[in-house]
């Protein structure tokens, strides 16, 4: 049976841990050896909306594995511009490739692609719904920095209302043991109530604070997010909150050596460039981990996992 990765909600903790383990094994393989894994295989990257990082990360992963990449980077470059339906695009492209990564502004598109295609489908973001490869790379990064995810104290900062990255990460963290989440956001961008309720019956905890400094003092890592201008119907409302939380290097004075700052990128003003030079900046390594996790996912979905004996 073919495999897909559509939603974090489809995964059990055991499956998530398997992906993190696989990514760790893939990271240990020298790039020069990775080329032998997928020669002659083709990844189609169907990006109906622009996303430089995610698309390049998928393309880098497939290329490093020795495969090739075809695709488009915006709807204008596809037959959608000529009126073709999404379903027809999938049915056509599956004739050209071995695996498909799809990003689309409409929710449910990745699930639809998985329903109708015989190829493995990787959800690279469907509207405001899911971005599971981002969540897995975030978890991989966190585990790499701290050795584990269980019991960590994690601050989620910025746009907690609209950020699908935050929502998916939250859902995943609830599966781990005793994660304490501190929520830092403007009043108008608080975490939706249904996610707070989802903690019921788990060992996770939520608490809210309006102080970024307090959150830094009392957590192991802060996960910063961009306030997304495109989400605001009224630009005046955006202007009120756009710089609500700006992390500067001076705020990190006195934090433990292992304290980390993560961000899914792109950042605007929420992390000052002076943080980059501190040992706490983890976001560029996080971006690097995106390639590793996507390598692992492509290998898994194509049933080409490296043998366990591989260094």
């Amino acid at each position: 049976m073919k495999k897909d990765l559509i939603s974090i909600d489809d995964l059990r903790l055991e499956q998530i841990l398997n992906y993190l383990d696989l990514a760790a094994r893939v990271a240990a393989i020298p790039d020069a050896e990775k080329f032998r894994f997928l020669p002659g295989r083709i990844l189609a990257t169907l990006f109906f909306e622009p996303s430089t990082r995610t698309r390049l990360s998928f393309e880098s992963a497939m290329t490093r594995l020795g495969g090739r990449v075809i695709g488009f980077s915006e709807a204008a470059g596809s037959s959608t511009a000529k009126g073709e339906s999404f379903s027809d695009t999938i049915r056509t492209v599956e004739q050209y490739a071995d695996i498909i990564a799809v990003r689309h502004p409409k929710e449910g598109t990745a699930r639809r692609a998985a329903e109708i295609s015989r190829l493995p489908i990787l959800n690279a973001g469907d509207g405001a719904n899911q971005h599971p490869t981002q969540t897995l790379l975030d978890l991989y990064t966190i585990r790499k920095f701290f050795g584990q995810v269980d019991g960590l104290r994690i601050a989620l900062v910025g746009d907690l209302k609209y950020s699908r990255t935050i929502h998916s990460l939250c859902r995943a963290l609830l599966m781990f043991d005793g994660v304490a989440m501190t929520l830092v956001s403007p009043e108008s961008l608080k975490l939706p109530g249904y996610l707070l309720k989802a903690a019921k019956g788990t060992t996770a905890t939520f608490r809210e604070t309006s102080s970024l400094e307090e959150a830094i003092r009392e957590t192991d890592l802060v996960y910063m997010t961009r306030i997304q201008k495109e989400r605001f119907p009224d630009v005046v409302e955006y202007e009120k909150v756009k710089d609500a939380y700006v992390l500067e290097a001076g705020m990190l004075a006195g934090v433990p050596a292992r304290f980390k700052v993560l961000h899914p990128l792109p950042r605007v003003n929420e992390i000052s460039p002076d943080v980059d030079a501190t040992p706490h900046a983890g976001y560029f390594e996080q971006a690097r981990n995106g390639v590793i996790m996507r390598e692992a996912l492509i290998l898994d979905l194509l049933d080409a996992r490296p043998a366990r004996s591989t260094p």
Binding site: F86, E107, G108
Partner: protein
């Protein structure tokens, strides 16, 4: 109104089905659902509105003289009016009685409430809504994962 005159208003049928315990006010909507099924075009249908009910206070009731009820109608009833009773009548007697329950899955019965869901962009795509958990009145779209209530779904019934 005497009990006798109530009985006269809803005459017994020889064979067919009674949809009973429809919440008062929903009878017209259920009639519209029946009208969507060409299989029931020849059925004689009797609609009774706002009858006294010991259990519900007031209720609506529909009697259909037909040999069978389309399964899709039963699914629609489960969405629009769960809790109604379906009684099969043979030789003027109730021979079978079923209370329509909220199911675990609605298969291509309603449109998603999320206008940005792919199933609304390409309406030929079959929808599926799964119950969040047993006993819940919340359902999740199998495509966009938006959670909605049973009432919201009932308001988005497919034609």
């Amino acid at each position: 109104m005497t009990p006798q005159s109530q009985i006269l208003l809803i005459p017994k049928i020889e064979c067919g089905y009674v949809i009973d315990h429809i919440p008062a006010g929903l009878g017209i909507q259920v009639m519209a659902l029946i009208g969507c099924h060409p299989e029931l075009e020849a059925a004689v249908v009797t609609l009774g509105l706002n009858y006294k009910s010991t259990r519900m206070g007031r209720k609506d009731m529909i009697k259909l003289q037909t040999k069978s009820l389309p399964p899709r109608l039963l699914q629609m009833l489960a969405l629009v009016s769960p809790g109604v009773t379906i009684k099969r009548i043979a030789n003027y007697e109730v021979v079978e009685k079923v209370v329509i329950q909220v199911p675990e899955l609605f298969d291509n019965l309603a449109r998603c409430i999320n206008p940005n869901c792919i199933t609304n962009v390409e309406p030929h795509i079959g929808t599926r809504f799964k119950r969040l958990e047993s006993g819940s009145r919340h359902f999740k779209c199998a495509h966009c994962e938006r959670v909605c209530t049973l009432d919201e779904l009932a308001g988005h019934l497919k034609a």
